[in-house]
Subunit: 407 residues, 2 copies
């Protein structure tokens, strides 16, 4: 095993997006991440989209590079085995990542009796103790009412708070692990999905704008706030996003479109200083009125040719198919991607973390089959003999691959 976290081991008892993606990030960085599921799988095992044979592409995409262990977590014996795995010795082990209520058997205090320096990361929904998921947290943030053209809320489709929460869990583990190696002390770290969202809204200045200026940022379609940027429709029906967040980038648009003289008329026309981001933001409708016909007369290849090497800051809109079929950045031409054999699915493009480490890292890996590593992990970490494992298996306390439920 390679990667900066090659000596780390942690146990994950999780479901859905946030906690599994946190564990996956650590696994992709080289850690041995053991995901423990109930026999048959947890609530996310058959989540859409599915492959033709019923294998969840959602689960397979969110649990790459992990090992999978299945235990009867609703029985005292299954819980005992899970606790033993979580608390197994090793100075780079002794960590549990979870977003599931453990019904007492995997509380921090219970586990700490077996391993005093345990690190436990616990993801919860809302900081007020109520249940919450990305959608019900997102509605509270203000973003849906500031997205689109107004009149009704627009949810973003990206589960952004889950994604951020997963990365906070990875960061939180590494911070607590660093402190543990200095002090010898473990701790419980709690992360509320609602706090992830509200801390982000605060960090981006939205709360301050309300507090200081009494201003609620209104929906502005695809316009960039505070500088120049918007989408444009091309002759061939494709669209592009065009931005300028510096004077240099603004002059590049001028030059690449050949519209310098006409764009220079906008300052006096709109009575703004076009040499500032704020001035260009205020004059954005006039700017777009001048640029629209230029884009409407050109195809995407023509725009690409005109902007190549020009310093213009732009990107084309792609749907998911165009991304897969046309963008080399989402192919094996990019080293963060590789073709892997995904059990139940076949050949699939898999990614590792986007971070590129000069000293090497773990290549993209498939997700395990559910229960694929039950026997090897119990043997390795708990020293079970083949006969002991067989007995647990025959009494239904553990399960290997092949016992996946379909919901």
């Amino acid at each position: 095993m390679t990667g900066p976290l090659a000596d780390v081991r942690l146990v994950e008892v999780s479901a859905f997006i946030a906690a599994p993606s946190g564990g996956m990030t650590l696994a992709q960085l080289g850690a041995d991440v053991i995901r423990i599921d109930p026999i048959g799988g947890n609530i996310d095992i058959a989540r859409w989209p599915l492959a033709p044979d019923g294998t969840s592409l959602y689960w397979a995409s969110l649990n790459k590079a992990k090992r999978s262990v299945c235990l009867a977590l609703n029985t005292p014996q299954g819980q005992e085995l899970a606790r033993a795995l979580i608390c197994a010795p090793g100075e780079d082990a002794g960590t549990l990542l979870t977003n599931l209520p453990g019904s007492g058997w995997m509380d921090y205090d219970t586990l700490a009796k077996q391993r005093a320096d345990l690190i436990m990361l616990r993801l919860i929904g809302s900081s007020d103790g109520t249940a919450a998921i990305d959608y019900t947290v997102n509605s509270a943030t203000g973003f849906p009412l500031a997205t689109g053209r107004g009149g009704e809320p627009v949810n973003h489709v990206l589960p952004a708070w889950d994604v951020a929460a997963g990365l906070y869990l990875a960061t939180g583990f590494l911070a607590a692990d660093r402190a543990r190696r200095r002090t010898g002390r473990g701790q419980e770290i709690t992360l509320a999905l609602s706090d992830v969202a509200l801390a982000t809204v605060s960090s981006l200045g939205y709360l301050a704008d309300v507090r200081v200026n009494g201003v609620v940022r209104p929906p502005m379609g695809n316009d960039l706030y505070g500088a120049f940027g918007r989408d444009f429709l091309l002759k061939d029906g494709r669209r592009i996003m065009l931005c300028a967040i510096s004077n240099r980038q603004w002059r590049a648009i001028d030059k690449a479109t050949g519209l310098t003289e006409r764009l220079a008329m906008i300052g006096p026309l709109m009575d703004v200083d076009m040499g500032t981001e704020g001035g260009r933001f205020a004059a954005r409708h006039a700017i777009c009125a001048v640029l629209e016909p230029w884009f409407a007369a050109r195809t995407l290849p023509e725009v690409r040719a005109a902007f190549e090497g020009s310093g213009v800051l732009w990107g084309s809109y792609q749907d998911f198919r165009q991304l897969v079929e046309e963008d080399p950045r989402a192919s094996t031409a990019n080293p963060i991607f590789a073709e892997v054999e995904q059990p139940g699915v076949g050949r699939l493009l898999a990614n590792t973390v986007p971070l590129r480490f000069d000293l090497g890292q773990r290549p993209p890996m498939p997700a395990p089959r559910l229960g694929e590593h039950t026997e090897v992990v119990l043997t390795e970490l708990l020293g079970l003999s083949s006969a002991q494992y067989g007995k647990l298996h025959d009494t239904g306390v553990v399960a290997g691959p092949g016992a996946q439920g379909r919901r």
Copy 2:
């Protein structure tokens, strides 16, 4: 200083959102993060929104808990001082986080001559070497064409890729730091914003759905994919997001609305198994038709009362003002927030990381004034005398607070 990273020190040379938020995350975890800017500030120093006196609320929100040093980075002496700060001794130091091209003077190889075990995190735009920001990366991901009701792309307003990139930078630093303490070796870590976005699209199963099933997820308004969830308009004009991602949550809606019998008719009506997520997703329009009048007849307080303690998974939509004025989770009732004195702005609600560490952490802190710590940092880390500092100041190589530019 407190928090799990209280012994860590790193230098940041950055602008905009992603890299500064990565440094801020580490600072909020307790690290001494020294942001070095050119005299007068970097390109983000006056970014909107602004406070009445011109102070950027954007900058103040994204640079909390850091120390600020101003150097004439366009001069050999200023660059020399920056290199000395980056490479200053200490086993928990020797890290540079940047998203700016250093024009050679802060390349990894140049810096590694001064400190062989340097860790350098470098954020770039696109993996193909072109410039890119959140907007021009986002257009490529497929999400804008899957957001809203279709017909035109809808950009999400949240700079989600910048937020994720910041957290990857924090994670990447901690992973490389862990490896450095094991091996003694530093390294350069490169992160492309485009890779952050494309790795995420891949991790969420969108690429696999295209590859395996040939399916491009279409825009579906605010409907949840693969399970039941949508927004509803209430009698008082407010809106809520309602979801069920488990059978238990679905039955809770049944019970809390008293519509059990009528919702039970939908299975036969639409010929689906209403006991599955997929069945409820397929029948979502019929479900909404039954639920809409129930919500349209009730105000937000009435819905809140009906759902309290019911196990229904829901949240209300709030704009940024409602979030600030009505939601106690975005107030000092939540320990991740505190009132701080922000220079140039006054009393302000500031946040720390959403992670809550049982062993304690750094409280919410304001951002520094630009150049506030130039003298103390140069004195502390480089051992400059007061006279030496005075000379550098008088020759314009360094600047203390008060030299902030306005763009």
